[in-house]
Symmetry: C2
Subunit: 199 residues, 2 copies
């Protein structure tokens, strides 16, 4: 059984990660998406175990105390995290797992799991991020500047990633993510078993 691969897709808010993830998952039904835990309240339309696992602060603290989170962050007063154990279980079963998390979390995963492949999603141009943030209409104007400042910091971290995918078009971005996932499966170090017979 070849172990599954862990892929982390990250990038600034507004760059179009979730649309691309949706397209990649559509093309690869065997790929599994990791569901995060959060302490924030469920919003209308959200589904327990699909959008998030909604847990108490106390439970979150227990997960932290047990070192059970692959990455975690606090955002506007709420905690978010990725439980490690379900991911390990899937990888051991040969299932590939995709995480869609914030850049801060992505770098935590990189430190903890050097076998993970990190993909940064960039906009075709930085001004496009501003345009999308304003166009989405869910961010108050006074928060836009803070979001952009954060996006700038996130861009500065991108050189620590393995790959950069440019989201000029969702099909194109999904094709690049697919290619990266397939190429990573072809890494020589993961396929040495094909050579054994010749020894």
């Amino acid at each position: 059984m070849v172990r599954g691969k862990l892929y982390v897709l990250s990038g600034p808010s507004g760059v179009g990660k979730s649309t691309a993830v949706h397209e990649v998952m559509r093309r690869h039904p065997t790929l599994r998406f990791s569901v995060s835990v959060t302490t924030r309240e469920m919003r209308p339309g959200e589904v327990e175990g699909e959008s998030y696992y909604f847990i108490s602060r106390q439970r979150f603290q227990e997960l932290l105390d047990n070192d059970a989170l692959l990455e975690h962050a606090e955002y506007v007063g709420n905690c978010y995290g990725t439980p490690e154990e379900p991911i390990d279980r899937m990888l051991e079963q040969g299932i590939d797992v995709l995480l869609d998390i914030e850049p801060c979390g992505a770098l935590q995963v990189q430190k903890r799991r050097p076998d993970a492949t990190l993909i940064f999603m960039a906009a075709p141009s930085f001004s496009e991020i501003e345009r999308r943030l304003r166009g989405r209409g869910d961010t108050p104007p006074d928060k836009i500047e803070a979001r952009l400042e954060r996006a700038r910091w996130e861009y500065q971290q991108a050189e620590k990633y393995d790959y950069i995918v440019v989201n000029d078009d969702v099909d194109h971005a999904a094709a690049e993510i697919e290619a990266i996932m397939l190429a990573e499966k072809c890494r020589a170090c993961l396929r040495l078993h094909y050579l054994k017979e010749a020894k």
Copy 2:
């Protein structure tokens, strides 16, 4: 102008490299294939500048003396080599270049050009190589064992490559080569220019 990428496909004789290369080139007309030089005589059906550039021993020695070959080898009394200058010219023009060379040459390229991506083509099983060598009918039975011994040595080098592609089916192998080529273009170190605007 983003510089082109140099890909090296290698693997034992009889593994099906040229069929896969043909398929990859068909799908990617902008990819260029590097033509080697050789001192052996032209065979019926071969075309100067397509199969090889046919040159004299003296000219070959001049190329060696001028350090103008990316890799070279002698095989049953004839010399073969890959001129470096035409490849550099294409890469500078942003053109990707694919080399289909013997494993000995591939490792020479790796030492000389750490920016090259090395892909080893393996058969689905080693016994398949023997079957193909015998089935092709162009190798005398007494040479088969020597070829297999060589293939065994070549397999032992495969862990030095970046990727291993398994040629169980030409479409599948070509798809893996394509994915590797696209993923390598997405390497963060080659796309840092997308981040500049945010600084």
